[in-house]
């Protein structure tokens, strides 16, 4: 494998991983290991209803300073500000987030405000912080976002109608507890689509212009785990061994893209999500093979690696042939896990594609794409193919 002679990078992944069925019962000990005493628990109404919150509150025991469960589907700065005010009132010195991406991002924002004071708007930016923030333990209830190990938080500023980004190494979660038992009840479609988000993180890390040997290795193993275990989880959600491997895959893919970044597929998924409300995982799952086809002329080497991980690279196959086999394999895989194949199946109408294409070329992720995207017409063509 060849990398540029002037390859230079920083790999960063400081999160401690605690894995095992029912490992969330160790939450109290994990909080204490961070030198903290009382944690505020952040979650959403769905998790509460599913009974997962009760389990964790019980395990936290006297270490639970309070519960903030008002996190909506897409979190906003007013939610984060309210959460931080609540945490202060409770006298919490740590944060535990129990949920998916929106809950984890809310908790990340709260960690900053609990340490630094002020309002979330004051911290919009990149690597502004100069010291570790409030300790944060993440207990994910999906296997996909990878947010439990990333330094990034995205929060909606409703007033300005835009998302604000906080990218802070010093605010990366300290600990992630991966407890497969908490993902047992995820329905098949959500299992498939969150899993495809993770697949997308891994493949996009591999083809990113920032790819490097460490993240390549991590991404490849994430793909291996995904290919083996996602179909099992879709068919039999209570297979906790497979659920566990899926969580590990999602976390590994999180490490890969936190360092190497994502690109065109995510740019398009963000945009079609904003324009037509397509859930992130579903958009990624539909668009991934189309994005790979587009990038093939510039990313054959990356996709040949993906083919090795997917198990489709046969002896004697050249790079291009292997890369093409990877694209086919991803497509077949999405069929196998009964994932939607077309945007038209996901509630998108054709007249929304042009706006989404326009948005995609100004999405941050596009700058890491291996094949330069000259303008929105290329993206529109991809959207039309995927429609």
């Amino acid at each position: 494998m060849f990398y540029d002679r002037d390859l230079s990078f920083i790999y960063y992944g400081p999160t401690r991983i605690v894995f095992g069925i029912n490992s969330s019962r160790d939450i109290q000990a994990e909080i204490e290991a961070l030198g903290c005493r009382r944690a505020v628990l952040v979650t959403d109404p769905g998790i509460t209803k599913a009974g997962l919150l009760d389990r964790v509150v019980k395990s936290l025991g006297p270490g639970c300073a309070g519960v903030f469960s008002d996190v909506p589907q897409d979190t906003g700065i007013e939610v984060v500000n309210a959460g931080a005010a609540y945490a202060r009132k409770c006298g919490a010195d740590a944060v535990v987030s129990l949920g998916g991406g929106s809950v984890i991002d809310t908790a990340k924002g709260m960690c900053v405000l609990m340490k630094e004071g002020g309002k979330l708007e004051d911290f919009e930016g990149v690597q502004l912080l100069t010291r570790w923030q409030t300790p944060h333990v993440v207990i994910p209830t999906t296997a996909g976002t990878g947010s439990e190990v990333t330094c990034m938080a995205v929060v909606l500023d409703k007033r300005k109608g835009q998302k604000i980004f906080l990218l802070e190494n010093y605010n990366t979660p300290r600990t992630a507890i991966l407890d497969p038992a908490l993902t047992e009840k995820l329905p098949p479609l959500l299992t498939a689509s969150t899993g495809m988000d993770a697949m997308c993180h891994a493949v996009e890390a591999l083809h990113s212009i920032q790819r490097e040997p460490i993240t390549d290795g991590i991404a490849m193993h994430a793909i291996r785990l995904l290919v083996r275990n996602l179909p099992i989880c879709v068919n039999n959600g209570s297979d906790l061994a497979a659920r566990g491997q899926m969580q590990i895959a999602a976390t590994m893919a999180g490490w890969a893209f936190n360092n190497s970044m994502v690109s065109i597929v995510h740019a398009m998924a963000h945009s079609i999500g904003a324009v037509a409300g397509v859930p992130h995982g579903i958009a990624n799952g539909i668009l991934l093979p189309f994005g790979m086809e587009y990038n093939l002329p510039e990313a054959a080497e990356s996709y040949a690696l993906a083919a090795e991980a997917l198990g489709t690279r046969e002896k004697g196959m050249g790079e291009i042939e292997a890369a093409e086999s990877a694209i086919r394999a991803v497509r077949e895989f999405t069929v196998r896990i009964r994932h939607p194949q077309r945007l038209s199946e996901a509630g998108v109408s054709r007249d929304q594609l042009a706006q989404a294409a326009e948005l995609s070329v100004s999405d941050g992720a596009i700058i890491w794409n291996p094949r330069p995207v000259p303008d929105s017409s290329d993206v529109l063509e991809l959207f039309q193919k995927a429609f």
Binding site: S8, F9, I10, E124, G125, V126, Q127, L128, Q162, K163, I164, F165, L167, N169, Q210, M261, S362, D363, G364, I367
Partner: protein
Amino acid sequence: MAKLKAFTQEWMNAFRRRIADSKEYREIAGNWEGSVSIIINPDPARGVPETVYLFTDYWHGDVKDFLVCDKAKAESADFIMSGDYIRWKQIARKEIEATKALMQGKLKLKGNLVYVVRNVKTVNKVVDLLGEVDTLFPDD
């Protein structure tokens, strides 16, 4: 022409002129509006005894004020980028790339990342033009 001493008003004027004279910049930067300040952390061992504050202002392809300024003026900008002297020098010499340096924490950005990334071509062009200014760095 003699090299210009980095971070002086004369150097800022030359930088401004480079951008103003660039047709390509004017085309690329049509959407950009807003000021950017650059804060260079002191590095006495390399000839930068105190913090340097620079203020630059851009408006839809035009360039406005380019000033060596004080802390208050720098902090009034729409976007504030700060970092160690050695990083800024590497960027000016194109030894490292600005976006990558940001992500890796070698530079800090206060402001809307989405806006900056959306206009990354403008940012890269400004950095390119900075590299064309014949500069004498404090530790050269």
